[in-house]
């Protein structure tokens, strides 16, 4: 059955994106939450620009990418399980004062 696949990871079609827009979603974050596009293992590497282009065509406005969240590659949980360092080489400087953001 012919389908235009926009997001390969989650099998989200062009029709799904158009349906989400027809339901009143106008923001790329809303479209992401409504359809699930960009939420698979590639995290939008193959779909975010395509959806932004579709949305920009419909709304006539420039569209930003959705917020990127860590990690950007599928990662086995074991890499984050230990938490503390087993080796320091060389020792890092004192953390900068205040929070980074």
């Amino acid at each position: 059955v012919p389908k235009v696949i926009v997001c390969r990871c989650e099998d989200v079609t062009l029709r799904d994106i158009e349906h989400a827009i027809a339901k009143g979603n106008r923001d790329i974050e809303e479209i992401k939450r409504y359809t699930g596009f960009g939420t698979g293992p590639c995290q939008g590497k193959e779909c975010v620009l395509a959806v932004a282009n579709i949305l920009a065509e419909r709304t006539g406005e420039s569209v930003p990418p959705f917020v990127s969240r860590p990690p950007i590659q599928p990662t086995a949980l074991k890499y984050f399980a230990r938490g503390h360092e087993t080796r320091q080489d060389p020792p890092p400087p004192a953390p900068a004062a205040g929070k980074a953001r």
Partner: protein
């Protein structure tokens, strides 16, 4: 099936891997996705919802189309898994097999797609059954055969200059900075530095030259080291990098993102049909791995990379047809012909998606850099010295605006000389 490999090509030693128990010829270090393609395997997996057949797409570790169960571990990228003697490959998300998947009925049962907001609503009698069906249809792989034997080591380091990405821009930037006396660490996710050069005619030689120059200049090179995330909250900010031996938590006086671009697909009906692969994946097959991608290849789309790929294919006696835009991809499992907007057809045995690529901006964005809007294809915004909107965060090459590898390398030198 005839072997698609080009005879006169330097390879690792011959080994035997297996696909669901059947032996498959491979060469040591060749990605299993390449080995399976070279041996004529057409389907590597089934998709998550409609169980449509899938093969690799980008062959660059980014698109997740080639996930397989490898040596008992689910969701391993077939394009990144090197063949070793005895490597066991299995295809995921299929009942009973990826070649003939009964769950593929989902594609026919939902011709207009599934709306998961309403799929199970107002179905009180069917709901318990449907839940079981959905549970069987969905998901990605099964748990590993065994838990990890030990947890990966974790290391912490602070650097003067950290370059993320070892393509033409990152290598050139690291070389220029190291020649100015900077202490530079370059992390790159591939098994050897070079990045997009491996999809270019003559690019493998250029990659080796730049790598040798980087070593001579004193750049510390990490290969198979994948930058995963910028964690702003930790210790003033940490870039985490997965390495072959564990996890590295890195910070730096200056971090340069030279992360390049991601391959994009064309938008047309059945654009996910096996045999529709990224244009640069076709280049990598031929130039990096010495495998004939096809006998008649349709280059579909407007991206100028096609101007470099086409002649490289023709030099191997492969017929090339240029198609500006497709309406639909046809074929029983593998692509057989491309339907154009006017209804005419172009026969082919491979379709190279020539869509302009997407800058790989996520890490720089997590680190506070800003991107231009979608009219700039989400490229990182930089000044002449490569500085982004965030102090200490720089970018160079294709991630600041896709161009050619030569342009990226020149930009890398320009940014590196000001570090």
């Amino acid at each position: 099936v005839a072997d698609r490999r080009i005879a006169a090509f330097a390879r690792g030693k011959p080994v035997t891997i297996s696909l669901e128990g059947d032996p498959v010829r491979a060469y040591e270090g060749e990605p299993v996705a390449v080995a399976l393609f070279a041996s004529g395997v057409k389907v590597l997996s089934r998709s998550i919802k409609y169980h449509r057949p899938r093969t690799f797409f980008c062959l660059d570790g980014h698109c997740a189309a080639c996930f397989m169960r490898i040596d008992g571990v689910p969701n391993v990228k077939g394009c990144r898994a090197p063949a070793r003697d005895g490597t066991r490959c299995e295809r995921q998300n299929a009942l009973p097999s990826a070649s003939f998947d009964l769950l593929g009925a989902a594609d026919w049962l939902f011709p207009r797609g599934m709306d998961h907001h309403t799929l199970l609503a107002r179905q009180p009698l069917l709901r318990p059954v449907l839940h079981k069906v959905v549970r069987e249809l969905g998901g990605l792989g099964r748990l590993p055969d065994a838990p990890p034997a030990e947890l990966p080591a974790v290391m912490r380091r602070h650097l003067e200059v950290l370059v993320v990405g070892g393509g033409p821009a990152g290598l050139s930037c690291a070389i220029a900075a190291a020649r100015r006396g900077r202490k530079v660490l370059l992390v790159d996710e591939n098994d050897q530095p070079g990045g997009s050069l491996f999809a270019e005619p003559g690019g493998s030689d250029r990659a080796r030259q730049l790598t040798a120059q980087a070593r001579a200049a004193g750049v510390e090179l990490w290969s198979s080291a994948t930058a995963l995330a910028w964690f702003a909250e930790d210790e003033g900010g940490l870039l985490t990098v997965q390495t072959p031996t564990g996890l590295a938590k890195l910070s730096a006086d200056r971090t340069v993102y030279a992360t390049g671009t991601y391959d994009q697909n064309i938008l047309c009906a059945d654009n996910d049909r096996p045999g529709v692969v990224a244009a640069r994946a076709v280049g990598r097959l031929l130039l990096r791995w010495g495998v004939r991608p096809g006998a008649r290849i349709a280059l579909v789309g407007p991206w100028s990379y096609a101007d470099r790929l086409g002649p490289a294919l023709e030099a191997q006696g492969i017929a090339v047809v240029r198609v500006p835009a497709a309406a639909r991809i046809h074929g029983s499992t593998w692509v057989e012909w491309v339907e154009l907007a006017d209804g005419s057809r172009q026969d082919c045995d491979l379709c190279a998606a020539c869509a302009p690529p997407l800058p790989a901006s996520e890490l720089a964005r997590q680190h506070g850099a800003e991107v231009g809007g979608q009219d700039r294809a989400f490229a990182i915004t930089v000044n002449d010295a490569g500085a982004t909107s965030r102090p200490g965060v720089l970018a160079c090459g294709d991630v600041t605006g896709p161009a050619t590898p030569e342009v990226a390398a020149t930009h890398g030198v320009q940014v590196g000389e000001q570090l």
